[in-house]
Symmetry: C3
Subunit: 116 residues, 3 copies
């Protein structure tokens, strides 16, 4: 049987789950609110770095990313923080759409899947 | 070549697909409508139990879940049904955002990925 | 270490990523705009065919699909193009919800995951 390793659990979810050579990172939001979408994206990407490291992976091994922005017009500013962070030689498949998030101060949420 | 096994097909999709040691469960909605978001979530989670069982998996082996609620203010009530259902020692990575669903009576839709 | 192969990169994302026997295709949109949701869906599905072929896969090996429509009332017309395209003996798990997309002329966006 395949081993499943779970990280950074809250009461309702795990922050990241390792299984079958992959790492599944939960939809991640900023804790420091209110903040600009750029600052929120930077905080989220730092949290994703830490979750991937805890699971033995890294941003260079991300295969896909899902990004939700609270207003699609925030996409360009979010993308500036994204571009400053991603490994340009190892870009994930990505989708970015608009969605209302759990708290109206949250402007962006990001989930990723990576190879371990 | 990897074997792909498909379950519970409709005309447009499969309810669940097994491949490479994983089970991919489609975005699942309630059939009993109208109903409260709590009742819809309970019905959906029972359907997911059945789909996972058909594919040789279970809720304790879910690695990630995507939840869409028709109004983000329904998240707390959905979470009560979620918390009553999940295996607290094996919580999935999860994302929950707001989205309009196929039928205005549908208040919640859930998709999951599990280890087989 | 698992090899990761990336296809059709732009400045911010890869169009498709191969890893661990799977192919992850990015959220894909139409280039020919404005156009009906049917025409956009047809263009997107042709792009997905090409991305899957480049990664050594095909539509018959898709395990899951995520579809976003800019207005949920466009779902029926999108589904007509979907039904004309999918392999009826190998239907993916699928979720389709409403979301505002990057450009207001974009009426549909589709991401898929396939076995290689």
């Amino acid at each position: 049987m395949s081993t499943i390793i779970r990280h950074a659990g809250s009461k309702i979810l795990s922050g990241a789950v390792e299984a079958n050579g992959m790492v599944y990172v939960a939809g991640t939001v900023a804790d420091r609110l209110p903040a600009t979408v750029r600052a929120q994206t930077e905080e989220i990407l730092a949290k994703i770095d830490a979750l991937l490291a805890a699971a033995g992976s890294s941003k260079s091994k991300i295969v896909s990313a899902q990004i939700w922005v609270a207003d699609i017009r925030l996409r360009d500013e979010m993308n500036e923080a994204w571009l400053a962070w991603v490994d340009p030689h190892n870009l994930p498949a990505r989708a970015c759409v608009q969605a209302a998030l759990a708290n109206p101060q949250m402007l962006v949420e990001i989930a990723v899947t990576a190879v371990k």
